[in-house]
Amino acid sequence: MRLTCPHCGPRDRREFYYYGASEYLNRPGPEAAPDAWDSYLHLRDNPAGVTQDLWYHEQGCTAWLKVTRNTVTHEILAVEAVAGGTK
C-alpha cells in the first residue's frame, strides 16, 4: 500500500501510523451531551466501500492526513492534510 503525502509525495505505508476513522476530527464541544461524546469516541461504521480515516506521516513530515479509500478495491481516492495548507 502506498499513500501520496501532500508534502512528501508517494510513500510506502510503512512510513505511516494508522489512527482510525476521520470522525476523530469532529470533536464535540465541552458542553456536548454524553451521547455525542460516546458516539465520537466509540461508535464506528465498518463500510465495505469508501471510507475516510486518519494516518500520521510519522516517518516523514509528521503531518496528519485524511485518507479517502475503498476498503474493497484498496483504491486510494484522496489524501489531504488535516491541517489544510497551514502546516
Partner: protein, 966 residues
C-alpha cells in the same frame, strides 16, 4: 548423460559436488538437477505421503519432486528445488524424507498401505480413541509424512533486503519480456527486467539453440543506463499500488563466504508492469505416472539445450498437442533416439524419424526406481514399449499467478483449454506472451512489443521503433486430455501425493466445491502450490461433478509465487538488528563502572553501579538509595522526552493538552502536568517549564515520548491549526542529569561556581564551565533535586565531572533500580501505574482537571464509571511482616476465596526501601483511598507469595514534602 556440443554450461570450469555423500563431477552453469541427470542419477527423492521413489519432473521453479537439503557451513536449507539450485565447487546436497536411505526407504511401507491413506484419511482413521490423537497419531503422522528437516539452529547466513523503484517492471525475460524491455528501454523509461533464471532469455535458451539476435538484444539492454536486468530474481507477489515482492538468489550459486549474502528480498515499486512470466507445461495423469524417468517434454528440451544432458537413451513422448514435436526434433537432431510418440489425437500429424501412435494413450509405467517400460493402449489393443525416459505434455498453463494476487480471477479459455489472465486484475499490469496464452515465439515477441506500447502510452512516453526478429509462428494445436482412466493410482499433485481417485472421492463424499476439494485432498497445498497439477485436478473434479471447468472455477493463487525464506524477508532483523539501540552520552562512563545496562524502550540505562565487595544488585541498590537520601546522587535522565514549544498561543495549547492550567505559569517556573487521552484515561505526565514568554519546554516520560509527540501533532493539526504554536522534539539535542540529595545544592554550586537561588519548581539558564545550559529544580526522588541540561556533545564530560564532584562529597552515581525505589517511597507514578486503563481519579489527581477550561479528555473523564468507589484506586501497600512483595500480585479481602471474581486489585510496582526497612508496593485497590488502614491479602500464586499488607497512602516518605522544598 552428457551430450557433446550441446548446452550453455562452461565446460572449461569443472566442479565437484556431493549428493547423499557421493561425489560427482559437473560444470559451472549446471543446476543440481542437470548435474544429477548428467551423472545418470534418476532417483532423487521420496514422495510426501507414500514415500514413492521420485525423479526430476521439470526444469524450473515449479519442481514438485526433486526437493533436497543443501548443507552449508552455517545452515541447512531444506526443500531446495534441485532444478533451481546451481552447482558450485563443494556443494553438498542430500535427499530428504527417507529412512534409512534414498534407495531403501522403510517408510515406503506407506505405499503398500495406500488404500488407508486416501483423501481425508486422517479425518476418518485417527479420530478414535480421541485421546490417542495428541500422544500417538499426530507424532506418528508427523514422522512419516514430510519434507526436509530444519537444523534446529539459528540460520547464521547473511541476508539482505532492498527497495527499488521504476517506471516499468517487466516480469520474465523470454521473448515477450525482452521485446517489452527493449522498447521501454529505447523510449527512455526506467525499466527493471526481472527473471528467475541465471541468465536472461527464458524459453529462447530452452527450446533450441539460442537465436543470434538474443545476444544483440541483451547487449543493448546492458548498454542502456535506464534498464536494470535482475537475474536469479523471482517476482513473488503483486501488492497494492504497484508494489511487488521479489526474491534474488544473490549467493546461493556460489561457495559460501562470510560476507556474501545468500538472498535479497526486494520490494519493487513500479508505475506500470508487464507480466511475461511464460507458461508451465502440465503432466497427464495415468497409472504410475510418477516413476523416476517420467519428465515434462519441455524439461527434456531445456536439459538438452541449456545443459547438454538427457535423462535416457530410449526416449518416448506422450502428448496431446503439437508442442512436444519440437522436443522430439531437438533430441533427434542431437543424435538421440526417440523410440515413439504416443499422441492422444486421432488426427495427429506424422513425424519423420520416429513412430507416432495416433489416438493412443499411455496406461501404465514400470520401473520402481527408474522407468523401464510403458504400456500403451490404442483402440482395443495394448502393447508395451521399452523406454527409460518418457516426456509428457498435456499442454500449457499460462503463469497467471501474479494477476490473482489482488483477488483477480483468471478466465477459462476453451480454445487453449487453460486459464488466462483477466484484464485489469492488477492495476497497471499487462500480461503478454505465453503468460497471456500466446504460445508461438513470434506471438510472444509481438505481444511483448504491444504490451510495451500500452504501458509507455500510460506513462506518457513515445513508443520507439523496434523491429521484430523473425521467429516460428506455429499454431498451438491441442485436444484436452487430463487423465487416462485406470484401476490403480494416477498422480495429479506429485508433491502432496494427490491422485485422480482422491479428487473423485472428494466429489463423491460431497466436497464438490473447488475450495473444499483442495482442503479435503490437500491438492495444490505443497511447496509447488499446485503449479503442475491444479488445472488437471479441476478438470477431474469438473468431470466427477458433471460440470464444465469454467463453472467449477479455480482456487486463488496467493503470494508468494515461489517459497520465500523468512530469513530474507526479515533480513537484518535478528539480534541487534531487531530494534534500534539508543545510547546515552553517559553510556561508556556507566559501563566503565561496571553498570549492567537494562533496556528501557529503545534506550539502554544503567541498572546500578556495583562497588567492590557487593555481590548482589540489592546491595548496590540499597546503598545508592541511602546515598541519595543522606548525601547526593547523580543519574542520567536524558531519556525523558523533551519537546520544545514556541509561539504566542503555546500556553493556550498547553492548557488544551494538559488537565491543569499552564498559561498562567510565570517565566522561569516549571509545573507538573497531567495529560489525558480523549477517552478520559491518563496518557502521560511530566513537567513543563516556561523558558521565556513564548517559549516552553515539555518533558514526557521515557516510555511515552513518541506517543505524546504524535498526540500533540494530532491535537494541533486537527483542532487548532490556526494557532500560533510550533513544536519539535529535542530529546536527543540535550543531555540532562538529575542531582538529588540533601547536599545537591552544594554540588550544583561547585559545578556552576556559584549557588543558584532557585526555588522549588524554578528553572533558569546557566553557564557551566563556559557552556550554555539549563537548570531546573525538580525532583523525582523526594530529595532536594536539580536537573541540569547541556547540549548533547557536552553530556559525557558533564556526567564525568558531576560524578567526580559527587564522590568527593560522599555521594556518587545511582541507577534505575535505586531511582525506582526512591520514587516508590515517594509514591510517584510511572507507566507501571498509568498503564492506559487508569483515570486521573484512579491515581488521585482528579483535582488536577481544571474546572475553568476545556482540555483533551475532560468530557470523557467525567462520564459515569470513570470515577467513584467502584474504581480501583492508587494505594500504598506495606507488609505486616518482613516479606518480599511482587508486582503483578492480586489483592484480596481477608477471608475471601482466592478466585478471579474476588480479586479487588493488583500490584503495579514494588521495591525494598532501605529508608523504611521494608518492602513497599504501589497498586490499585477497589475503593482504595477509603480503605487506608485496612489489612489486605497480597497473593501471587505464580511466585508463591501470600502476604498480609497494610493499605496506606501511596506517599510513604516525607509526605509533606519538606525535603523537596528545603
Amino acid at each position: 548423460m552428457r551430450i557433446d556440443g550441446k548446452g550453455r554450461i562452461d565446460r572449461t570450469r569443472p566442479v565437484t559436488f556431493t549428493f547423499d555423500g557421493k561425489a560427482y563431477p559437473a560444470y559451472r552453469g549446471d543446476t543440481l538437477a542437470s548435474a544429477l541427470i548428467a551423472n545418470d542419477v534418476r532417483l532423487v527423492g521420496r514422495s510426501f505421503k507414500y514415500h514413492r521413489p521420485r525423479g526430476i519432473l521439470t526444469a524450473g521453479s515449479e519442481e514438485p519432486n526433486a526437493l533436497v537439503e543443501i548443507v552449508g557451513p552455517a545452515n541447512v536449507t531444506p526443500n531446495t528445488r534441485a532444478t533451481v539450485q546451481e552447482v558450485f565447487e563443494g556443494l553438498v546436497a542430500r535427499s530428504q524424507n527417507r529412512w534409512p536411505s534414498l534407495g531403501l526407504d522403510l517408510m515406503a511401507v506407506n505405499d503398500l498401505a495406500a488404500p488407508f491413506f486416501s483423501a481425508g484419511f486422517y479425518y476418518k482413521t485417527f479420530m478414535w480413541p480421541r485421546r490417542f490423537w495428541e500422544g500417538l497419531y499426530e507424532p506418528m503422522i508427523r514422522r512419516a509424512a514430510g519434507l526436509g528437516r530444519l537444523s534446529g539452529r539459528h540460520d547464521e547466513g547473511v541476508y539482505e533486503k532492498a527497495w527499488a523503484h521504476c517506471d516499468l517492471l517487466v516480469i520474465g525475460s523470454g521473448p515477450a519480456g525482452l521485446m517489452a524491455a527493449l522498447a521501454a528501454g529505447r523510449a527512455g523509461a526506467d525499466v527493471i527486467l526481472a527473471d528467475e533464471g541465471a541468465e536472461p532469455g527464458g524459453r529462447l535458451l530452452s527450446d533450441g539453440d539460442a537465436p543470434a539476435w538474443l545476444g544483440e538484444v541483451l547487449a543493448e539492454l546492458e548498454s542502456l543506463p535506464n534498464v536494470r536486468v535482475m537475474t536469479r530474481t523471482t517476482v513473488t507477489g503483486a501488492y497494492d499500488d504497484g508494489t511487488f515482492g521479489a526474491l534474488e538468489r544473490v549467493g546461493l550459486h556460489r561457495r559460501p563466504r562470510p560476507n556474501l549474502p545468500r538472498e535479497c528480498f526486494w520490494r519493487i515499486v513500479a508505475r506500470r508492469s508487464i507480466l511475461a512470466a511464460g507458461a508451465l507445461e502440465r503432466p497427464i495423469a495415468f497409472q504410475n505416472n510418477d516413476r523416476p524417468g517420467i519428465m515434462m517434454a519441455g524439461a527434456l528440451s531445456a536439459y538438452l539445450n541449456r545443459y547438454g544432458v538427457v535423462p535416457g537413451k530410449a526416449i518416448t513422448l506422450f502428448a496431446n498437442n503439437d508442442g512436444a514435436r519440437q522436443t522430439a526434433r531437438g533430441l533427434m537432431a542431437a543424435g538421440l533416439t526417440v523410440s515413439a510418440i504416443i499422441d492422444s489425437r486421432e488426427d495427429a500429424p506424422d513425424e519423420p524419424g520416429t513412430t507416432v501412435h495416433k489416438g493412443a494413450v499411455v496406461i501404465d509405467a514400470k520401473g520402481r526406481h527408474g522407468l523401464t517400460e510403458i504400456t500403451v493402449r490404442k483402440g482395443a489393443g495394448e502393447f508395451r514399449i521399452a523406454t527409460d525416459c518418457l516426456g509428457l505434455s498435456g499442454g500449457w498453463n499460462p503463469s497467471v499467478h501474479l494477476t490473482c494476487h489482488l483477488n483477480g480471477r483468471p478466465r477459462w479459455s476453451d480454445d487453449l483449454a487453460a486459464f488466462v489472465p483477466s484484464e485489469g486484475a492488477v492495476p497497471g499490469m499487462v500480461a503478454a506472451g505465453a503468460a497471456n496464452g500466446s504460445f508461438s515465439t513470434h506471438g510472444c515477441l509481438a505481444a511483448g512489443l504491444a504490451a510495451a506500447a500500452q504501458s509507455l502510452a500510460a506513462l506518457g512516453m513515445t513508443v520507439p521503433e523496434v523491429a521484430l526478429p523473425a521467429a516460428e509462428d506455429a499454431p498451438y494445436r491441442l485436444s484436452p486430455l487430463w487423465a487416462v482412466p485406470g484401476r490403480k493410482r494416477a498422480w495429479l499433485d506429485f508433491a502432496n501425493d494427490v491422485t485422480v481417485k482422491d479428487v473423485a472421492l472428494s466429489a463423491q463424499e460431497g466436497y464438490r466445491s473447488v475450495e473444499h476439494m483442495k482442503r479435503y485432498t490437500t491438492q495444490g497445498m505443497a511447496p509447488d502450490q499446485g503449479k503442475n497439477s491444479n488445472v488437471a485436478a479441476l478438470a477431474v473434479l469438473a468431470d466427477a461433478t458433471g460440470r464444465g471447468i469454467a463453472e467449477t472455477g479455480t482456487t486463488t493463487f496467493r503470494p508468494p509465487y515461489t517459497p520465500v525464506s523468512i530469513a530474507a524477508m526479515g533480513a537484518g532483523g535478528r539480534a541487534e538488528g531487531f530494534a534500534p539501540q539508543r545510547f546515552l552520552t553517559s553510556d561508556q562512563a556507566s559501563r566503565d563502572r561496571g553498570a549492567p545496562m537494562i533496556e528501557a524502550g529503545l534506550w539502554y540505562r544503567p541498572g546500578y553501579f556495583p562497588k567492590p565487595g557487593e555481590t548482589t544488585w540489592r546491595q548496590a541498590c540499597d546503598r545508592e538509595v541511602v546515598m541519595v537520601r543522606s548525601s547526593v546522587g547523580v543519574t542520567d535522565v536524558s531519556t525523558l522526552g523533551k519537546i520544545d514549544i514556541q509561539g504566542k498561543d503555546a500556553g493556550r495549547f498547553l492548557d488544551l493538552v494538559y488537565t491543569n492550567t499552564f498559561s498562567t505559569l510565570p517565566v522561569g517556573r516549571a509545573r507538573y502536568g497531567l495529560m489525558l487521552r480523549e477517552d478520559g484515561h491518563v496518557l502521560d505526565d511530566g513537567t513543563t517549564a516556561r523558558l521565556a514568554e513564548d517559549h516552553w519546554l515539555m518533558t514526557t516520560t521515557t516510555a511515552a515520548a513518541g506517543l505524546v509527540m504524535r498526540h500533540l501533532d494530532f491535537v494541533q493539526q486537527a483542532f487548532c491549526a490556526g494557532w500560533d504554536v510550533r513544536f519539535i522534539s529535542v530529546t536527543e539535542a540535550w543531555a540532562q542529569f538529575a542531582v538529588a540529595g540533601p547536599v545537591a545544592r552544594d554540588l550544583i554550586a561547585s559545578a556552576l561556581g556559584h549557588t543558584p537561588g532557585l526555588p522549588f519548581m524554578g528553572c533558569m539558564d546557566v553557564t557551566i564551565q563556559g557552556v550554555a545550559g539549563r537548570l531546573f529544580r525538580i525532583s523525582f526522588s523526594g530529595e532536594e533535586g536539580y536537573e541540569i541540561a547541556v547540549p548533547t556533545r557536552f553530556g559525557e564530560a558533564l556526567f564525568r565531572d558531576l560524578t567526580a564532584r559527587a564522590e568527593t562529597m560522599g555521594g556518587g552515581l545511582y541507577g534505575m533500580e535505586a531511582l525506582n525505589v526512591l520514587r516508590i517511597e515517594k509514591g510517584f507514578i510511572t507507566h507501571a501505574e498509568i498503564h492506559g486503563r487508569t483515570t486521573a481519579f484512579d491515581i488521585g489527581m482528579d483535582k488536577m482537571i481544571s474546572p475553568k477550561k476545556d482540555c483533551i479528555g475532560k468530557a470523557a473523564a467525567a462520564r459515569p464509571g470513570m470515577t467513584g468507589p467502584e474504581r480501583e484506586q492508587l494505594v500504598g501497600l506495606k507488609p505486616l511482616t518482613d516479606s518480599a512483595l511482587t508486582a503483578g500480585a492480586h489483592l484480596f479481602a481477608q477471608g475471601a476465596d482466592l478466585t478471579r471474581e474476588n480479586s479487588s486489585g493488583y500490584v503495579t510496582s514494588v521495591g525494598y526501601s532501605p529508608t523504611l526497612g521494608s518492602f513497599l508496593a504501589l497498586g490499585f485497590l477497589r475503593n482504595g483511598r477509603a480503605r487506608q488502614g485496612e489489612t489486605i491479602r497480597l497473593v501471587d500464586r505464580l511466585r508463591g507469595v501470600d502476604v498480609l499488607c497494610l493499605v496506606t497512602d501511596p506517599v510513604f516518605h516525607d509526605p509533606t514534602g519538606e525535603k523537596l522544598r528545603a
